[in-house]
Symmetry: C2
Subunit: 204 residues, 2 copies
Amino acid sequence: MAGELNDKTPRTERGRRTLRKLLDAAATEFAERGFHEASISGITRSAGVALGTFYTYFDSKDAIFRALVSDMSAGVGKAAREALDPSMGALEVERVALRAFLEFASEHKEIYRIIDEAEFVDPESYRAHYETIGARIEERLKKGAESEEFLPGLGTPEAWALMGMNVFLGLRYVIWAREGDPDFQEIARRANAMLANGIGGSAE
Amino acid sequence: MAGELNDKTPRTERGRRTLRKLLDAAATEFAERGFHEASISGITRSAGVALGTFYTYFDSKDAIFRALVSDMSAGVGKAAREALDPSMGALEVERVALRAFLEFASEHKEIYRIIDEAEFVDPESYRAHYETIGARIEERLKKGAESEEFLPGLGTPEAWALMGMNVFLGLRYVIWAREGDPDFQEIARRANAMLANGIGGSAE
């Protein structure tokens, strides 16, 4: 898999650039045609590399699809990390991470279709994608609980609930965006307010 | 579509029973084989009805798939409604609705696979499924805001966030359930606490 060391991992800068081109081309090809209709020659053509070069990096269409899902998981994580800085409080981290995710998804709209198709094409990658992100969120919640910015006792259910919020806000406001929708900053602010204080009013 | 009046809507109790058998058999067939591998003859065989009978109800495999997605949306709604009663407060409604959804999904584990495959097979049904549920949740949130049990100003972002929580809790605790997981009542309780008061601790 891309990002993991195996005999196909590129060792030169040029190799890494070619791998990147192949993954980006694969994202477009899989998103536009779906896994079954997508072809390796379509990927290499749009990447502008020779067909034979493909096999320097991947054994099969399955292999590049798997690498792409893993690359997209990593991309989601990287987008969040780059937006965060150590001075932020735990709650701010969640707001900024959601906003970064919405922006990432907006620049990589194909991510929903590809991750969702993984459920059928490569169920293990599909599950790994959410397990990875869920674990990352759970770790942040625990850290926030330790610093007493969050309530004690947060764990897997809260992490998956939060992940679901973020995924569905992306579905609605990125993939199915409509004219007049609030912008990403406002969506992240509202989700964060919900996370901070809940929606219980005076009766609570 | 099942549930809508057209020339294929059964008018007798016996017709409705046959339709139900076909939809249940379709759920199993599509979940086990996927849309493309599934066949009308597989559906009628497992429903125990003649192949010709199928066409009294549906024009095609696409048509029964579409009807099935719509039937599952209705099933989710019905499960929630049956668990609710008018004496419940707005917050309790959300707790009970989530628990009912987890139980429904647990008895109809195929729902995730079928709804998710609709994204590829019948994108309009896929979107309609979530738009319908999102609108239902949004209405409940507005009602809760009116009765002042919820904060004012709740709308589409909060409804989709809540829908995402519920869908992902089902994914993790129904579809990917593990030994030692909390039970549905406890999951619904924790999600409801998060909804009521958020996760902000003393620093909030």
